[in-house]
Subunit: 108 residues, 2 copies
């Protein structure tokens, strides 16, 4: 596989995490699987929109779905996703602590 293609796929994974609602979905799924209805109730989000986010996350391999009768339950596909999210959140928080007001300028 050419490097270019790998970077593209890798960017695709990151892109999938690059949305506040999808990050919230991930947080809700930390404790184990949840049904779509439960998620929708927990999340203040429209049904169609939630379904779209979940479809995207399924395609990128972030979540797995399991149908049980009329309900569909989603879970995280890999615990490393939580680790990666936590690390990025730490990067964010450390950046905020260091004084984000300086961000974008050269630090003297």
């Amino acid at each position: 596989m050419p490097d270019d293609r790998l970077y593209q796929l890798h960017a695709g994974i990151c892109q999938t995490l690059a949305n506040p609602k999808r990050l919230e979905i991930i947080d809700h799924l930390r404790g184990g699987e949840l049904g779509v209805t439960q998620l929708a109730e927990a999340m203040n989000i429209g049904q169609a929109n939630l379904s779209q986010h979940l479809a995207l996350m399924r395609e990128k391999g972030i979540v797995l779905a399991r149908r049980e009768g009329v309900n569909v339950f989603y879970r995280l596909s890999n615990p490393k996703i939580i680790q990666a999210c936590d690390l990025m959140r730490q990067v964010l928080l450390e950046h905020l602590e260091k004084g984000a007001e300086l961000a974008g300028s050269y630090r003297k």
Copy 2:
């Protein structure tokens, strides 16, 4: 800080990683700081475009810049960025190994 705002900022960090060129920049900076010219040469990318990517990464606290005379050297701001990238790459690779051709469908 409200949760919403945190998710938004977190998504901003992910968004910054959600681009093949920026991931390549991160890879090039793994070994330590590099000048813009060196980066541009290593990367098959236009000068203006590289500068824009670096500006974005600076704003989000991913990289830090240091000017030395007429040159500007960039480095990663936090080793956790590398860890997070590596984890996401692992998630990607494991997903590919498991047969991405099934992706998007319910696994039976």
